[in-house]
């Protein structure tokens, strides 16, 4: 496997890709900053599930 730096340049411009997904990435970072402690937030927020029993759905490390 060759390192990425030595590979041919992709035809689609990385700048365009970055520009397209940047707003989404910023929104995610903003959401993350609001959660100092993800676990405690989950427990706290689950109080909003009044009338329901929540079951955790498997979280993937990588998007398929």
């Amino acid at each position: 496997m060759r390192p990425l730096a030595l590979m041919p340049q992709p035809e689609a411009t990385p700048d365009k890709l970055d520009a397209d997904i940047l707003p989404a990435r910023k929104a995610t970072q903003k959401a993350r900053r609001k959660t100092d402690n993800k676990k405690s937030l989950i427990r706290l927020r689950m109080l909003d599930c009044e009338g329901f029993v929540p079951f955790r759905i498997h979280a993937l490390k990588q998007i398929p």
């Binding site: 990385p14 989404a24 609001k34 689950m46 329901f52 929540p54 759905i57 979280a59």
Partner: protein, 328 residues
């Protein structure tokens, strides 16, 4: 990602009596959580094939021109078996990549249709040009696909005439890492639902969730609820996963043929990935070019929950027959 386009067409029940609701919390502009509210079970589920046949009949009553989207995988083939048993007329379609990049996959859909006298529409798409031109990006933004592959499938739906019916996966539990979690559609999987809704099209984004009874039937009646099934980690074991899934469907009453070549399949996009990796000279080229730009997983994607009505004693009985660590 922006919000999906508001509904343009008439209201339609994408799930029976709109029993399933998918919501981002607190809202879709700043989501921390994705919650799927499941409808109440009206009775204890019958066997999976009985529930699937009932779901096919219900869909047959509601859709004018059902088109079953066959991928070549077990889930969509099981769905087609249910429609055949129900005697509901339907058409079938599959997405064929130009250059035979998913030939190894769709050949099973072709075999199934040939064996059962079903006419299969083959919709050809050039996935290489689609991705090179960046056509996946606006689709991903509009419907929160979080992946180029789902955007590609939505393009297929856009080209398809009729009322698309997608198979999807079955509700199950797994605990390969110790923590018991549900395997079910996530927000990104509901991108197909968002597309159908915004386009004002009828259809079914997840056949195996069409009724609450069908969704819970596999956990109620097959080995998928057993401890051995839950302990498995299927990552990197597509062959074993295929055989396990085939056994589950057969236990559920589906008469599915064994197609050994299908053991090599994982998601159907392997050929496309290999094509780009060869072009780029690296096994990470495709990921670098078409996955990395989506950025880190959003917070809501890590915090997804299935919510069951606390008075739905039947559903809780089925779910809580599992070790209690599954509940938060």
């Amino acid at each position: 990602m922006n919000s999906p386009v508001p509904s343009a067409g008439p209201a339609f029940e994408y799930f029976y009596e709109s029993h399933l609701k998918s919501v981002l919390d607190p809202d879709d502009q700043d989501p921390h959580f994705h919650k799927i509210h499941m409808g109440r079970l009206s009775r204890f589920p019958e066997t999976p094939i009985q529930e699937a046949v009932r779901a096919a009949r219900l869909l047959g009553e509601r859709l004018g021109d059902p088109v079953l989207c066959l991928s070549g995988g077990l889930d969509s083939e099981a769905m087609a078996c249910a429609f055949l048993l129900a005697g509901v007329p339907f058409r079938a379609a599959t997405m064929a990549f130009k250059g035979d990049l998913n030939r190894y996959d769709i050949r099973h859909a072709e075999d199934f249709c040939r064996e059962n006298g079903i006419t299969l529409s083959v919709v050809e798409i050039d996935p290489v040009e689609f991705l090179k031109r960046g056509e996946h990006l606006p689709i991903s933004r509009a419907y929160r696909t979080l992946s180029a592959e789902r955007a590609l499938f939505i393009r297929f739906l856009q080209l398809l005439e009729g009322d698309p019916v997608l198979g999807g996966e079955i509700l199950r539990m797994e605990s390969p890492g110790g923590e018991l979690t549900l395997q079910c559609p996530k927000d990104r999987d509901f991108s197909y639902w968002r597309y159908l809704e915004s386009a004002g099209r009828k259809g079914a984004p997840y056949f195996h969730y069409y009724t609450p009874e069908l969704a819970f039937s596999f956990l109620a009646h097959t080995r998928i609820a057993g401890a051995d099934s839950r302990r498995q980690n299927w990552n990197g074991r597509p062959g074993e996963h295929y055989l396990h899934k085939l056994a589950v469907y057969r236990e559920g009453g589906f008469q599915l043929a064994e197609r050994p070549e299908r053991q090599q399949k994982w998601h159907g996009f392997e050929g496309l990935k290999i094509h780009f990796d060869l072009l780029g000279g690296s096994t990470e080229f495709y990921n670098h070019k078409f996955r990395k730009p989506y950025g880190d997983l959003p917070l809501y994607d890590l915090n997804q929950f299935l919510l069951v009505d606390e008075t739905d004693t039947l559903a809780l009985q089925i779910l809580e027959n599992q070790p209690p660590s599954g509940a938060v």
